[in-house]
Amino acid sequence: MLEEFKKYFWIAKAISRLALSTQKEVVVRFLTAKKKYLPDGKTKAHVDDILKCALCPNMCRFDCPVLQAAKSETYAPAGRARIAYLLEMGRVSSQDAVDLMYACAACSACQQWCPFDFSVDDLLIGVRRDLVDRNLAPEMLMGIRDQIVNSHTIYQNSRTSLGLEPREADILYVAGCTVLNKERVIAQTTMKILEKVGIAVTTLPEEWCCGAPLNLLGFENDFKEFAARNADIIEKSGCKKMICSCPECVYTFKDVYAEAGFPVKADVMHTSEYFLELIEQGKIQLKELNKDLVYHDPCVLARKLHIIEQPRRVLEAIPGVSVREPPLTREHTRCCGIGGLLAMTNPELSVTLLRARDSELCELADTVVTACPACKIAFKRTRNSESRDLSEIVFESMNQ
């Protein structure tokens, strides 16, 4: 409060020099004018913040992967905010405008340059919730919603467990939908690493999606149902620590559930954090592995969870491994193209993003290591580089 007062003292001082009647009018307008530029009814979108974003000169645009791929003003972050504002005010209503609200990689690259600390994906979630409430959500996305709600995972013909019997354990491992259905090798290596060092670990008999896609797409009520069920089942597992291979799962369980009123009663960790803990305790013994690698920071892991050092320290602990850093690295990492369900909502843009990122990585090493199953799958698709998860490299080193 004091800081705010100091910050605006120069304005207060200038206003104090005006005639008393003018002072009053200026202050009243300053405090009340905004209301007439906001929607009359209640919205789930924070239109006040969207307006700030729409009135910005786009200071984050150079780092927005979607804009850099589309190379069209329509996809500029403040441009999307402007259309969001016009949608919320009822001044535009086209399907194109609605579809644009989903053209975001949810990578939060924008946030690091934003003077208001906004992330465009956070702003857009509110708009999407309003679109859902007004029955304007695109049909294709309704299909995704139905798939998740009915099958408890985003993947069709899917698996929702590792097929292991639950057992008494201190650690709960939640693989996540992508690992269960597309990258089981990550779960297998993770479980083998833990078994090898004698950690008692259990899994859920039926893993439901963490709900991140529902939350991202604005299906707030469905998301809350998933959050309530998952928070309850995690508590019932009795485990005080829970590890996940997917950064989006960690972020959702740890931060988004708490914000939605369903805090998870366990210490939620990403596998990279836990592996480092075990290495530092001397439980994981790593052997020489002669490999040149380039590490790709997953956006959610680096920017939303601030887990940047841990995966690097795991890799540095492996004798013989040489880790290269791409030009856009750590908190300045660039999206692989999969984030924010972009591969579903805007497949062409997603591929452009992926190719751009992969070409940066391929220049540095033949093998890309990452710590997110979705990123790993993305890099496998380009076939320019070998794509591995951190758990696979750790497991390979332990078994040399």
């Binding site: 100091k6 910050k7 003292f9 120069w10 304005i11 001082k13 200038a14 206003i15 005006l18 003018t22 009018e25 200026v26 307008r29 300053f30 405090l31 004018a33 905004k34 530029y37 006040d48 307006l51 700030k52 974003c53 729409a54 009135l55 910005c56 000169p57 786009n58 200071m59 984050c60 645009r61 150079f62 780092d63 850099q68 190379k71 069209s72 003003e73 329509t74 500029a76 441009g79 402007r82 259309i83 504002y85 016009l86 005010m89 009822g90 001044r91 535009v92 209503s93 086209s94 194109d96 405008a97 644009l100 340059w113 003077p115 208001f116 030009p327």
Partner: protein, 492 residues
């Protein structure tokens, strides 16, 4: 797609168009669309309402206000993304045949309306021409396409061990083409020069489709520089399609200095002497008392004073020497050193552009005006422009800092903010600008140092340029007889 009529309202959407146009017939539209698709390919043309809306504005503050009032500045008929100079040449030939306006677009960060398609027509967005073509260490040059974003260009150079030295506050949100078209200046320009100093040569397309390439040489005396016609022309005389620029090795050392002065005159005199002695700080910024209070309230010693910040950078030994001479000059002229703090604070916060976002929805009309003047008239210009702005009913704040310096003079960057007591915000805005421009011209200043003319400054161009404007109009008519290139701008 909604189709707007001449009254400026659209069917299916609810907004008013400030510069409405008679729409093309469906047949004309279809024919032009097909022709454009033949030139650039289907994926590089759009006539969707969403895209047209997205290119309906730039960062002209009053046009941003219009958004709150349910207005859209202007809608182009088509948006085109060329990939080569030949594409642009063919677009220009077609535009001449069809008598369609062509407005070039970079990233829309201009603050005077220059990129608003006031006569509809075609927006030529340069973003898909953003490649780095060559980096030459021996000649210290980079050749690049103009659609590249400023920060992405600077990031590329930094990774290779260089800098362009052109760091405007719009670095993150503007393109090289925009800088050249508006004769931009960066915050580090006192050392590295303005974009016109940094340019070596260019390739461009003139309004009737002719492509020119100037030769990349450090200097020649082979007649007037035709390529220079494009600099500051804001897209009214052609479109730049490639540029070779000077680059610098990334500075080895950076020294930050901050001083407080009791009077603006003393601080201005210090900078004049520093430059006269042949020292060119990369950054020199001098804030009047109001702006000092606004930006440096955290440093107690700045209260009631004017802050001067200097940033010297380059070769280690030279920078050390420049730092000690600058320090001596400032202290001899009444400056008191307050350490690195204010300079470091400026460095850290220089891209925090929040004012328009914060104040516009509160009905505070806010803008900046940058002008230049010779040293002997600098204080007169400062005082008369501040007085002129303050004299307008409703102005709450009128302040300035000096941000670019030369051995011969200075650029002042004024800020005004206020709430119109009577009349519309647009009228209030125009009235303050009018008062400021008149005061500037009366004091012998130039009405723009580095933002350009656009729509807003057009009414004062005649007074600024005098008979030169007639010459410029003759050139315009010769090069662009159909007036297709960015019409309605610069008083042309």
């Amino acid at each position: 797609m909604s189709s707007e009529n001449t009254t400026g309202h659209t069917h299916g959407s609810d907004y008013e168009i400030v510069y409405p146009q008679t729409p093309l017939s469906a047949e004309q539209k279809e024919q032009i669309l097909v022709n454009l698709q033949k030139i650039v390919g289907k994926r590089n043309v759009s006539h969707r309402e969403l895209d047209r809306l997205s290119y309906s504005r730039d960062y002209w503050p009053i046009a941003l206000r219009w958004m709150l009032e349910g207005k859209v500045p202007a809608l182009p008929e088509f948006v085109v993304w060329p990939e080569t100079a030949d594409h642009i040449s063919r677009i220009m030939r077609m535009a001449n045949e069809e008598n369609l306006a062509v407005t070039p677009f970079g990233e829309g960060s201009g603050v005077l309306g220059a990129a608003i398609p006031v006569q509809g027509g075609i927006i030529v967005d340069m973003k898909r021409m953003n490649a780095v073509l060559a980096l030459d260490d021996t000649n210290l040059t980079i050749t690049v396409q103009p659609g590249i974003n400023g920060m992405n260009l600077e990031r590329f150079l930094n990774q290779k061990g260089y800098t362009l030295g052109h760091i405007p506050q719009s670095l993150y949100c503007s393109t090289l083409g925009g800088w050249l078209a508006c004769r931009a200046a960066g915050q580090f320009s006192t050392k590295y020069g303005k974009i016109d100093d940094i340019l070596i040569s260019l390739e461009a397309v003139f309004p009737q489709g002719t492509i020119i390439r100037s030769k990349p040489v450090p200097k020649s005396s082979t007649g007037p520089r035709i390529d220079m016609l494009l600099l500051g022309a804001e897209g009214t005389l052609g479109i730049i399609t490639e540029a070779t620029l000077k680059i610098w090795p990334y500075p080895e050392k950076r020294v930050l200095q901050s001083y407080v002065f009791s009077h603006l005159e003393e601080a201005l005199e210090s900078i004049r002497i520093i430059l006269r002695r042949g020292i060119f700080p990369a950054v020199a910024r001098l804030y009047d008392q109001v702006e000092t209070e606004r930006h440096f309230y955290r440093t107690k010693k700045t209260r009631g004073k004017c802050v001067l910040i200097l940033i010297l950078e380059g070769d280690r030994e030279l920078v050390d020497l420049e730092g000690s001479v600058s320090h001596a000059v400032c202290t001899e002229h009444g400056g008191i050193s307050v350490g690195e703090g204010p300079a470091a604070h400026w460095l850290e916060t220089r891209f925090n552009v929040k004012e328009i976002s914060e104040f516009t929805p509160r009905d505070v009309v806010f803008d900046t005006i940058e002008v230049s003047v010779m040293w002997d008239k600098s204080m007169e210009l400062y005082q008369s422009m501040i007085s002129a702005m303050k004299s307008i009913d409703g102005v709450i704040i009128a302040s300035a800092h000096a941000s670019h310096f030369y051995p011969q003079g200075v650029c002042f960057y004024f800020t005004f903010g206020g709430t119109p007591m009577t009349g519309s915000p647009t009228d209030f805005y125009q009235t303050v600008w009018d008062a400021a421009m008149k005061a500037c011209l009366h004091a012998g200043g130039s009405i723009s140092h580095h933002h350009g003319i656009g729509i807003l400054r057009s009414p004062w161009v005649q007074q600024e340029l005098g008979s030169s404007l007639e010459v410029l109009r003759t050139i315009k008519k010769a090069l662009d007889p159909e007036y297709v290139m960015n019409p309605g701008k610069m008083g042309l």
